[in-house]
Symmetry: C2
Subunit: 333 residues, 2 copies
């Protein structure tokens, strides 16, 4: 695949998820806030893993999930992210390439191991995440290949990268390259606590550098210190050209300068695990967006794509998403 | 947990499964026979993995799956098997211990990596397996702890161990220890081609050393070179005290000296993946058997336990099996 054909290039953490079913009591015992992501160090990760139930390992990482899903939808996509030279690094790399994603960031030698995210799934399907960032934050400006970004219609950046300065530097560099090349910049707010940690920088980023913002209700409220979702929507409409705001079972809202479009959630027989639903939503939206579909269609594609992730453990699609879209909306896709 | 309380100790390959959805064409291209297990070397495993789609990693191993499920059912269980000192070895060990299984076989240092089984799942839910045995066949007589086997009601042996001489030696030693200690010996035939490779040894084993035999239709027919299932049933009834024969959607047949009991399959809304269904069946049966339940109840428990494995990718239970049994058959469990 030539880089010139890329729809979206993602830059984010390269993580393998370890998913395990648990109950609410365990979250309380471990002092974890349900539905959020906490950063942990390697020794904490080992201690928590030892207490967790049996797991299922699936490649993850928020933007990486979106990129994998874009590929499954039939969009050409690339990813920039850092794994180590270990077995989990093999798993992550394999899964990206097997999806047809252009992924050739050099691996980290002699550093921390590949990042992993311990994901505790409660009976309501909600996921609570503890991430050991390991090798993934060793992504550096040298890993940002300008020609890859310049060749893409959209570069999709992970908010989580703001948590480490080297990664943040790579992030900013990618945005600059994109601006010069006419590549649109999309940003995932990632997590409400991540937004809280870097609120001012995110506000500046959204106002001056971001063309498409992805976030959920709590993230967008946190970004603008808004008491209500309505206030947050008003703020983002002033600040950003296009915002795509997910609201779980309430569906989502697409916010453009002159319009707000409500998208209904796609019904799901039984929610097994919400891990990656937001990432899949972004994939469906960007798949439509990069094909210049009307925003309503982009939103509908997003809702359908997100629904697939809810039906199984793990974020990565377990069926061909292009076929799912074809089945659900036929020619509109 | 004291070893004296163990219901079942399993001895088998310690494997991490890599599951991936595929189509029939891929199986043909790779010269694989659907529904069977092929042994492959490390370089073949790497070549096949590179061609496979994205995967989900879940601890596996036939007898190891049964032991994990027994623990989930509330039976006390132990496992003897060999992993390497690598990340997949960490995953396997964690998952066993997290299930509450007694597992302390020393890991292999400076040898091949932890075994992995590449599992290709076709749209009909059938699985086709290619196993790189790696560290798992380095299990040796020294790993067979006599006190563990002597303390258990049943020792459950994996037919696949016959594929390597060192492992086979460990297998025979375990059977001898069991006989002396009054521990009953159960054997899983594992795979029709495995049975074909070692037919005479298996026949001798079943006749002289096995108290409970587990197999499916094609395995039992292969064992006795029988043209029909009925002929195979006749042969096994002459040769073994108790045989438990699974027949996919046709349910199963329990064969005792004076009786044959047909057990209906538990209905499953949609079969996602048959990986581990036979292993889960053995778990449900042994759970009842070690509690001296009537054979009909053992069979019913087995059918319910097997049904859970069909509903998701991977063999290991994703819900508490004790709760599932309680819900389905209440006090009878």
């Amino acid at each position: 695949m030539s880089n010139e054909e890329l729809s979206v290039v993602g830059i984010g953490n390269a993580i393998v998820d370890v998913l395990s079913h648990t109950d609410e009591v365990f979250l309380v015992q471990e002092n974890l806030t349900k539905g959020t992501m906490a950063l942990i160090e390697e020794d904490q990760a080992e201690a928590l893993y030892a207490k967790m139930g049996p797991g299922v390992e699936v490649s993850g990482g928020s933007v990486a999930n979106t990129i994998a899903a874009l590929s499954s939808l039939g969009s050409s996509a690339g990813f920039i992210g850092k794994v180590a030279t270990d077995q989990l690094g093999d798993v992550f790399s394999h899964d990206m390439k097997a999806m047809g994603v252009v992924f050739d960031t050099p691996r980290l030698e002699d550093g921390p191991p590949t990042a992993r995210c311990l994901i505790l799934v409660t009976p309501d399907g909600q996921r609570t995440m503890c991430t050991f960032l390991g090798a993934s934050v060793w992504i550096a400006p040298a890993d940002i290949k300008p020609e890859l970004i310049a060749a893409a219609k959209v570069v999709y950046l992970e908010g989580y990268l703001f948590d480490r300065s080297r990664a943040k530097q790579a992030f900013r560099q990618a945005a600059e390259i994109a601006h010069k090349a006419g590549t649109r910049v999309a940003l995932a707010l990632s997590d409400m606590f991540c937004v809280e940690r870097h609120r001012e920088e995110f506000q500046d980023m959204v106002l001056n550098h971001v063309d498409i913002l992805f976030g959920n209700e709590s993230e967008i409220k946190m970004l603008y210190k808004a008491d209500s979702f309505e206030d947050a929507v008003y703020a983002v409409q002033e600040n950003c050209e296009l915002a795509v705001l997910t609201r779980s079972e309430k569906g989502s809202l697409i916010v453009a300068p002159e319009q707000r479009i409500e998208i209904a959630a796609e019904p799901v027989p039984r929610v097994i695990d919400t891990t990656g639903a937001g990432d899949m939503y972004a994939a469906g939206f960007l798949h439509g967006y990069t094909q210049d579909k009307p925003l309503e269609i982009c939103g509908r594609m997003a809702a359908i794509t997100a629904s697939e992730a809810l039906s199984h453990l793990g974020a990565r699609p377990q069926i061909c998403l292009a076929e799912l879209l074809e089945e659900k909306i036929g020619n509109a896709a």
